[in-house]
């Protein structure tokens, strides 16, 4: 996601501003190496949502998180997110209790499945959110993942 679009989303948030993003989105190539520092510095789900330009997000059954209920080790937690929402533009992974909330943020162009599978670090047992922007609206799914203590140390 390019920073300019986020900026628009942040200042606007309404229908008008969202409509304006559509054009900018397509010209995102040149800005592909932008990195949204403000969003990656956020320390709560609400702050991240705001930094990604959303005012509120609705829970949705059309967003599915595939992850283990219990992770044997927090250093590697496999997480897949699939959105069945039409016009899915963005999939972001948020980990509530990590030192910083936003883990990863994927732009899904048309022609690419609204599906992402990756591996993230979790500092402790936490709710994990999959945030989806589809047709300019914000949706999410949530799942608690328990992180256990491994090995003999600790």
């Amino acid at each position: 996601m390019d920073a300019k679009r986020r900026e628009v989303l942040k200042t606007g948030g309404g229908v008008l501003a969202l409509a304006a993003t559509a054009g900018i989105f397509k010209s995102g190539e040149a800005l592909a190496q932008e990195w949204n520092k403000a969003a990656f510095d956020t320390k709560s789900v609400a702050e991240t949502l705001k930094a990604l330009g959303g005012g509120a997000s609705s829970p949705s059954d059309a967003v599915e998180i595939t992850a283990p209920d219990i992770a044997e080790n927090g250093a590697v937690v496999p997480i897949a997110v699939e959105s069945k929402l039409p016009k899915t533009q963005v999939i972001a992974i948020l980990i509530e209790k990590n030192p910083t909330t936003l883990s990863a943020d994927f732009d899904i162009p048309a022609g690419t499945d609204p599906f992402i599978s990756t591996r993230v670090k979790m500092a402790e047992t936490s709710n994990v959110y999959a945030l989806v922007i589809a047709d300019g609206k914000y949706f999410h799914a949530m799942k608690e993942i328990k992180v256990t203590i491994g090995g003999c140390g600790g």
């Binding site: 995102g28 990195w35 590697v76 937690v77 162009p109």
Partner: protein, 106 residues
């Protein structure tokens, strides 16, 4: 120089299934060494995947993507023999680009 990625791109039905492993520390910046000094953050911030000149996925990552990152996604429109190109760039400006040829069909 950063190590090459391991990329698998396979045509399954009408979609290209891409699985990639990247060799990177993904250091959070929150850990300390034995002397109590913070180890500086070092992590991939941007990943871009292109096919035929078109971006098929772009991502921004924070420090909590696991070390030696793994990424799996699917896109439409690729044919066997065509190339998928992946570039990552980290917070120190290091970059790595690798290509894979789309395999198979079936």
């Amino acid at each position: 120089m950063a190590d090459p990625m391991r990329i698998r791109a396979n045509l399954t039905g009408d979609k290209v299934e891409v699985k990639v492993l990247m060799a990177h520390e993904m250091e959070t910046g929150l850990r300390k060494d034995a002397g109590g000094n913070a180890i500086p953050a070092h992590f991939i911030r941007n990943v871009t995947v292109t096919h035929g000149g078109k971006t098929v996925l772009s991502a921004q990552w924070g420090t909590s993507v696991s070390r030696n990152p793994f990424l799996h996604f699917r896109f439409k429109g690729g044919r066997p023999g065509e190339k998928v190109t992946i570039t990552w760039m980290d917070n120190k400006g290091d970059k790595r680009t690798d290509e894979a040829v789309i395999a198979g069909g079936g």
